[in-house]
């Protein structure tokens, strides 16, 4: 039993390390509607997510 559980754990960790998937990451995803590029090439947007205080 432990052979399988241990193997699964190892494979899981290997998967996280190689894919970069972060199961505990707390980032949010969204699509920005009003994406613009400023005069110096910077991308400027006002949409998306705004958290914080």
């Amino acid at each position: 039993m432990i052979r399988w559980i241990g193997g699964a754990l190892l494979l899981g960790a290997l998967g996280l390390w190689t894919t970069g998937y972060e199961p505990f990451a707390r980032d949010d995803k969204a699509k920005v509607a009003g994406l613009k590029r400023g005069p110096d090439g910077r991308m400027i947007w006002v949409g998306g997510l705004h958290g914080g205080k």
Partner: protein, 652 residues
């Protein structure tokens, strides 16, 4: 041991078996009956007249009578006077014969003259043969000898197995010294490597003559089989014996060795006296059917055993009676052994010489390189018996029983005032016993934990720990390898001034930057001089398609002094990770939140691509550790149950 003295004296110039000493008379007439008496062995001082049983002694040129003996008792000995054999390449001849009555019956002891001038004694006891040679007298005191007593002799550790009293019954042939007709006392001891010793005190209290040798098999004596006596009188006469009380057929399996038999039908306890059985007393009916019927045959190890006896024994601890059953097993080649049934747990016990076992009293025993931990010491009482026994078994018989364990094995010592018996036990599951004896009904399921029961979780624990170790090492190796080959590329690094007071709508946009490969992203926030303040940071990463990933991090750092000393909480550096991001061009938008900064602070933001996290290694190791703890605890829990029953450990 036997007729005392002179047993090992070498005769100078002897070339053949038994050479006459020239200075003493070699032959003459029996002082009693006049029959010819001839001495053939130089060391012989007496000879028993074969016609009238007179003990004829010689001194110088004189022959004189020292008494008369009764006729020899009929025993199962295969030997006879004049028989020749060869041991370790040396020829020998049987020249004298003693018969002694011990507590457990008649034993035969033979005086042997070897071709190389040595003289030895071959004793027959309980079907075992011991060949010994005198080592002379030694300054030892009998009061120090008791069963189980450990002492040293000739640089060897030896253990006293039995203290026995014996009285001469009869003799024949030539013997080294006049016979002791009084009750004599001897102590038998064994040592490592099969060493066997007899300390023969005779009628004295000290300075025993010591005989040392070892156990031998009949085949080791080099006697042609056709020269051996075919004497099985008891067997012939007792084989078809019937119970004197109920006339039931006893069907004895080992009549040669029989001392007592308990009738399986009526419970009459009978004693073998010569060729007949004498009633002693009645025994109660067993309180449960025998799990293995008498006369069943079963194969344990490489030996086929026959069940010839059953005993119910018990001990009482803290007022509670703990009964168990013991079956006496017999094999023509291996002798006797015991099969114990305690709460459905089965242990096969084979006798071992006491000298092979080294005991640290109530601590541990050592046998054949294995340590056996002391488990229990009780007074065992034999309550009931059925079947045949090679000792004078009786209800109420008591013994000090000590058990030492190294599951699935055990060493068991049974001691009384007269002898100590060591047995080596091997644990068997009920289904193994049922299969071995081909029982038609299943044996009861075991209850509780037996002292020598193998821990069912031990093998699993060893296997699990091995796998856990393999996975732990593999996880560490993988992390080191992946970490060493990770990009860990800083794709963006910028410092931002957090002014006081914060300008309204303070928002920063970065120049576009490249994330070159897919993988996670680590974002590090650092304010080196943050002090008793907090800052919240909203950070968004957006790619050219407008897909945004947002995180919010609040940074706090407070410190001070109290009566307990200085303290701090929070950190000046915070790190967060974004899950797997595709390669491409990204821009960063940063919105800081704060209200009470003392002065302008500098926020450094660093974005690093492809950072394998040690967190997952830690989690894997923790999970493996938890599994290791579980498997260890499971095994330990079983051991706790086992040792809870021990009366030799402190249960706190």
């Amino acid at each position: 041991m036997h007729a005392k003295g002179g047993g090992s004296r070498r005769e100078e110039g002897t070339a053949e078996i038994g050479v006459e000493r020239p200075q003493v008379v070699q032959e003459g007439g029996c002082p009693s009956c006049g029959a010819p008496v001839q001495f053939t062995v130089g060391t012989a001082r007496i000879k028993v007249c074969e016609f009238c049983q007179t003990v004829v002694a010689r001194q110088g040129e004189e022959l004189y009578a020292t008494g008369k003996l009764s006729a020899l008792a009929e025993t199962a000995t295969p030997f006879s006077i004049g028989l020749e054999g060869r041991h370790d390449g040396v020829r020998f001849r049987f020249v004298g014969h003693l018969q002694k009555d011990y507590d457990d019956g008649v034993w035969d002891e033979w005086y042997l003259a070897f071709e190389d001038g040595r003289f030895g004694w071959l004793s027959e006891s309980e079907g075992s043969l011991h060949l010994m040679f005198s080592r002379g007298q030694h300054p030892l005191e009998r009061r120090h000898f008791r069963p189980g007593h450990e002492t040293r002799y000739a640089g060897r550790r030896v253990v006293v197995e039995e203290i026995r009293q014996a009285q001469l019954i009869s003799a024949e042939g030539e013997l080294p010294e006049d016979l002791q007709r009084e009750m004599t006392i001897a102590a038998d001891a064994t040592g490592p490597g099969g060493v066997f010793l007899t300390f023969d005190f005779g009628t004295g209290e000290d300075a025993p003559e010591v005989f040392m040798g070892r156990r031998v098999e009949l085949k080791d004596l080099g006697i042609p089989p056709d020269a051996l006596r075919d004497a099985k009188p008891k067997k012939v006469r007792l084989q078809g014996a019937r119970c004197t009380q109920c006339n039931g057929t006893l069907d004895l399996k080992a009549p040669d060795r029989l001392k007592r038999v308990a009738c399986p039908y009526c419970g009459a306890l009978l004693e073998a006296r010569g060729e007949r059985l004498a009633f002693l007393n009645g025994l109660p009916q067993p309180d449960h059917p025998l799990r293995i019927p008498l006369h069943s045959k079963g194969r344990l190890g490489d030996v086929t055993w026959t069940v010839i006896g059953w005993m119910q024994r018990s001990c009482t601890v803290d007022g509670i009676r703990y009964p168990w059953d013991e079956y006496l097993l017999w094999s023509p080649n291996e002798g006797f052994s015991f099969l114990m049934d305690s709460n459905g747990h089965w242990t096969h016990l084979l006798p071992v010489p006491a000298g092979e076992v080294r005991v640290h009293v109530e601590s541990a025993a050592y046998y054949q390189g294995r340590r056996y931990k002391a488990f229990q010491h009780v007074e065992a009482i034999t309550e009931n018996v059925r079947g045949e026994f090679y000792w004078r078994v009786r209800a109420g018989e008591k013994a000090e029983a000590t058990e030492y364990i190294a599951p699935p094995y055990s060493i068991n010592a049974d001691a009384n005032a007269r002898e100590v018996t060591y047995t080596h036990g091997t644990y068997y599951a009920p289904e193994d016993i049922a299969r071995a004896f081909r029982l038609k009904t299943a044996l009861p399921e075991p209850t509780g934990v037996a002292p020598s029961q193998p821990n069912p979780h031990h093998a699993g624990m060893v296997r699990d720990l091995r796998w856990i170790m393999v996975y732990a090492v593999a996880a560490i190796f993988l992390f080191v390898f992946i970490s060493a080959n990770a990009a860990r590329q800083t794709v963006y690094e910028q410092e931002y001034s957090l002014r006081v007071p914060p300008p309204p709508g303070q928002t920063y946009f970065s120049q576009p930057f490249e994330i070159p490969r897919s993988g996670n992203v680590q974002i590090r926030f650092q304010i080196r001089d943050l002090q008793n303040e907090w800052v919240g940071v909203q950070l968004d990463l957006v790619d050219a398609q407008g897909d945004v990933r947002s995180v919010y991090k609040e940074m706090t750092y407070y410190s001070g002094h109290s009566t307990d000393g200085s303290w701090s909480e929070g950190s000046r550096t915070y790190t967060t990770h974004l899950s797997r991001m595709q390669p491409g061009t990204y821009s960063l938008r940063l919105v800081p939140y704060y209200d009470r900064l003392t002065t302008t602070r500098t926020l450094r933001v660093t974005v690093v691509s492809d950072v394998p996290r040690p967190l997952y290694l830690v989690l894997v190791l923790l999970a493996l550790g938890a599994m290791a703890a579980y498997t260890i605890m499971r095994r330990a829990s079983f051991e706790t149950g086992r040792w809870y029953e021990s009366n030799l450990v402190d249960h706190g």
